[in-house]
Symmetry: C2
Subunit: 287 residues, 2 copies
């Protein structure tokens, strides 16, 4: 593997993929492999301290492609709603501190006892109306991430790229965009046209990769597959996204206890190798 | 609970919901509660013998609303494909023997190692072209069931009602229809318009109910909820389906080990009660 500018120039490693590596070790391993981009999560960033984390990645020469995650904006009672908005403003501040222009939003599921998907989706739009200008003023774009429909009740009522765009398009494109994560949209025959729609509207804020493997584990959250191990045509999705003119980094975000149990540096090397073999154009020269 | 014609007039109990009840016991319990319709599965029907099963349900005065299931039509090698077509012709024959006009098809997942969803969906269309006339000649309609996108790789590449209709509409409506199962489509904001499309085209072959509950169990197949226990607006879906002019029976099909571990007659009574309370119009008079 080579320096940035080579075949890994567009690879961004989301820190959840190798969460066994504390931030300094992750930065060191990225330098070793010539990986120039990372996606960060609020939990580990807060543990480290956002300013300290920002200094660390800056000193390591790393670019932060996104911060995960804000959102959970579907509460129907006023106090919970206010807390969610406050927390999301904090998340915007953290993103700005880290120097990333992208805050990923996982919208939230149905409130306890509710069966009103449409109402929950409308509350997200209301929350975006409050948060989008705040984010825009700080140079941060809110990136609405559709999650696989199996998360619709308990985690994210935004289940398709089409729904995410319907929400995002109510706001200026520099304030609200969408995330395309292959794990969540791979099954959807409308995904190609929605990716084109996102690109045409300047809404493509983040492109993330994970593979789909079965059987799904209990709770289904931690069942994502290493690139190339599953059913997703990763190269095909990368081509669809590139065809819109998107040339930004591509984040690999895998939640998988099997990967977390292994040596993190080894998993990082494997991930980089899989990225080259399953995502990049076949036969791309070294640099 | 009362005789058919009362509030349970439209209730059909899919035998998987109370699979602890052998067919004679199921028939007896249905008579006790005034349930006039059942949905059957090929496995238990074959164990019993299709002719004997047909005689039994006929003698009990039961109407068979559907036979589950044919399908698994996505194999790409010729021998597996031929076996699947033969098996589906047998399933059509069994449906005809049972006197039901509806054979539910679960399309099949991706072949081992394949990432070509589009190709798999086209092979289903090819198989329907072979099977539809055979079914039509025997008074049986093939009912394409979209399964939740979490089954897309290993069980059913047809993930939305829109996709199912795109397939069905290539064939005459009396030969190929679709299934609307709330468990599989509840999350989809396009489901209302697709239900209307199915109704307008005379494609609504079966309407099935189960509720969505979390956490999903490992493998996710047996995680369906009893009516009223979950996130699905069952009454709202029944209203959408009824608005198309559909007035046929409504099948309750729940795969849940918790229900199977209980007394089957008690579960049947509970299911009938939930059907009245969560599916029928509120305040409907007894009869």
């Amino acid at each position: 593997m080579r320096a940035p500018g080579g075949r890994l120039a567009r690879l961004s490693v989301n820190q959840q993929t190798v969460k066994q590596l504390p931030l300094p070790e992750l930065a060191g391993a990225c330098a070793k492999f010539g990986i120039a981009h990372v996606g960060l999560w609020r939990g580990p960033v807060q543990e480290y301290g956002p300013e300290a984390a920002a200094r660390l990645v800056r000193d390591a020469g790393l670019n932060v492609t996104s911060l995960c995650r804000g959102g959970f904006l579907t509460a129907s009672d006023a106090a919970a709603r206010r807390r969610a908005l406050d927390d999301n403003r904090t998340a915007v501040d953290e993103a700005a501190t880290l120097g990333t222009g992208t805050l990923v939003l996982v919208s939230g599921g149905l409130p306890e006892g509710s069966r009103d998907l449409r109402g929950a989706r409308e509350r997200i739009a209301d929350a975006l109306a409050e948060l989008a200008p705040y984010a825009g003023e700080r140079g941060v774009r809110l990136a609405v991430e559709p999650l696989h429909p199996m998360f619709a009740s308990d985690r994210c009522v935004v289940s398709t790229l089409g729904q995410a765009l319907d929400l995002a398009e109510r706001f200026p494109p520099e304030q609200v965009g969408v995330v395309v994560d292959t794990y969540h949209v791979w099954w959807d025959d409308r995904a190609p046209e929605e990716i084109a729609r996102a690109g045409a509207g300047g809404r493509l804020a983040s492109f993330q990769l994970a593979d789909w493997i079965t059987p799904l584990p209990e709770g289904v959250l931690l069942g994502r597959g290493q690139l190339g191990d599953g059913a997703v045509d990763l190269r095909g999705f990368r081509e669809l996204v590139d065809a819109t003119g998107y040339d930004a980094p591509i984040e690999v975000e895998i939640f998988n206890p099997g990967l977390w149990a292994r040596d993190g540096v080894e998993v990082l090397a494997e991930t980089a190798d899989r990225f080259v073999r399953h995502v990049l154009p076949a036969g791309l020269p070294e640099a």
